[in-house]
Symmetry: C2
Amino acid sequence: MSKVTPISGFLEWLPAQRYAEQMVLDVIAEVFELHGFEPINTRAVEPVERLVGKGGDADKEIYAVSRLAADESDAKEAGLGLHFDLTVPFARYVLENSGKLTFPFRRYQIQPVWRGERPQAGRYREFVQADIDIVDGGELPFHYEVELPLVIADVFKRLPIGDFRIQVNNRKIPEGFYRGLGIDDITGTLRIVDKLDKIGPAKVKELLVAEGVSDENADKVLALAAISTSDSSFVEKVRALGVEHEILDEGLAQLKAVIDTAAEHAPGLLVAELKIARGLDYYTGTVYETQLVGDEAYGSICSGGRYDALASDGKKTYPGVGLSIGVSRLLAKLIGERGLAATRPTPTAVLVAVTDEASRDESMRVAAALRARGIPTLVSPKAAKFGKQIQFADRRGIPFVWFLGGESDGVPNADQVKDLRSGDQSDADRHTWTLPAEDAQPTLHLPG
Amino acid sequence: MSKVTPISGFLEWLPAQRYAEQMVLDVIAEVFELHGFEPINTRAVEPVERLVGKGGDADKEIYAVSRLAADESDAKEAGLGLHFDLTVPFARYVLENSGKLTFPFRRYQIQPVWRGERPQAGRYREFVQADIDIVDGGELPFHYEVELPLVIADVFKRLPIGDFRIQVNNRKIPEGFYRGLGIDDITGTLRIVDKLDKIGPAKVKELLVAEGVSDENADKVLALAAISTSDSSFVEKVRALGVEHEILDEGLAQLKAVIDTAAEHAPGLLVAELKIARGLDYYTGTVYETQLVGDEAYGSICSGGRYDALASDGKKTYPGVGLSIGVSRLLAKLIGERGLAATRPTPTAVLVAVTDEASRDESMRVAAALRARGIPTLVSPKAAKFGKQIQFADRRGIPFVWFLGGESDGVPNADQVKDLRSGDQSDADRHTWTLPAEDAQPTLHLPG
């Protein structure tokens, strides 16, 4: 057997970190349910033909799956691959179950996804995403594009992640603007503008001009992309550029509705950022990215947008809008770098000491009584000296140690419980003792 | 794009079923934490060399994983495969992190696993397992073999799964018994006895005799396997067969300890079943299987045992004991066949009606107020007629519909809330109204 070494790009947490991760996932799921989303999980695999060509260069990143001991009968089966996001499987799930779902269908889905790309900081080959989407059959009302970022803002407000900012744009704004300028190649232009953060405005202008955009128009394209406002004043700034098109009007009105509604329901959290385009994806309306304030260069931790044609069976099309939290990406920063942790490193609250092996049964009875009232309890592994058993609890971050009272001259003594942090030790009844409120439910905290 | 069809062996639930599954998983995790287990997740992939040859014919069932666009640099990477259980990855995790873990280490792990075998009833190519294991460095005290089935009994007692029975044996009993009879090929004999349920005692005897076991000894082997008691009377029954060996004595004492302790802590749930062998696996002490009473032929829904040498880095060995709940297998029966469901099919408790699109903002304010107090709330997708909006809620199983009071002659009216089940409608304040207790937290129930 070879030496045990980590596999690059596959993140695994130690138990205390996994405990914190699970708490984050619980908060995410709870808020999604508060907002009326229903849970689904999809299988890890999809037919490769369904994965290839969906979303930029994702086809290069697909992990193919095949039986190690494949035989002839396998050749008949379609090639399978691991899903690289939760949107493509969701679109397939909607088509497969359309007769059994009620529309508009709101689902959340929290699962790992896999991409075979070269790992780099903040990017993994296996990572957890937490997605919400709303799809409808035929038409999808615009107001969902307003609602969805408010759900994400509600999630992030409940997590100790520091300040964050949801950047919003509407694909109709650049499209209408470019059309108003007489530029026909919308996708090509968007693709160039999308490089703004990487190569800077001068290079972007060069590329635009090389594609046949006039010097004046290239300046206007850059001026549009430079607009960023935390209120609806972006509308005037766009108007000041003097470009007119009905698609532009529609985009501005929609983005204004998103920003105005957010100003009431999530003040200060959304900004209109007119350079956001979400690359080559399938988005057709509002698009979103989310950044940690002070860590903008880390990239987006939650992205998505409105799509019109992702789920279609040829007869019926299901437009939708979705947002995906990059949980592993977010937690690599929060847990891995900032030290986000639970208020204690283990779910266990009490260690019941074992006086001697003959009385282990009695210690188990104490544990059963505490557990029956919801107190996570462990029985000591060995009837070692009490000092050692206390050390055992202390090393694990278990805050309380319980000692059997035993008896003196045939008269039972009260049990005792010791708080390892204060050192206080006092009589306790296994059937009535409760945890202090701050210990009953560990929460998340950032150090410092 | 080809037609969307399910892939054989990959189970997916509809949202209401997935909601019930998540509740089951929450109960399992909660009970595991109550018993002092810490959470871990491991990556989905392991080096193929680490997967092959662990556990029977599992090597035939491994799904290999490779980049679809593999290039030369990939050849340098070890071949990867999807894990087929959670024990092999756990053993690797322990070795990889041994310096950072505190021993005895108790972990729980709830994740999907994959096996490329031909699907059949109750067997899947992708399925969720929920495992607990306790490992220690060097020596593992026996009392954990007593404790572990009590944790599982505690899980199953909190789930509406009907009657169940945990069957327990100790590998030392057949081993010592066979040695006492002078049979040397312990593994070969166990392998034959393991076929008892499939081929019956007459065929088993034939096979044993064919392997050179005497007629009299074969009868004794069968007599041992036939012993099944719900108390420790199995000890006398074994003794009555007149076989002596020190390993047998040790096995009997250990199994008696498990059964006696269970009689107090989980009365009626454990039986000593001396035919249980867990096939060709790596078990060395207590072994467990679990059956649904009345559905015995469905097979085990929770299995495991004591192992001594699964995790070893050549220098140090970590013996352990573990049990694994076959969650998908269990839920295919409970949700798929028996109709186990949540008390309502959706997390959502309230639909806020929209009077007209102009007042959608006000409906969103109501929803925000209710959510702030933990009430899962959805805003109606359309300002349709109230009858239609009520129907929308009803079709989804949302029990309450909230109506804005609006105002008459400039004076605001109270909001109203309607219980769709009773038809009652009454005034309600968005900042104080609470859900009836039975609606606040949906639970699991079996129909009928």
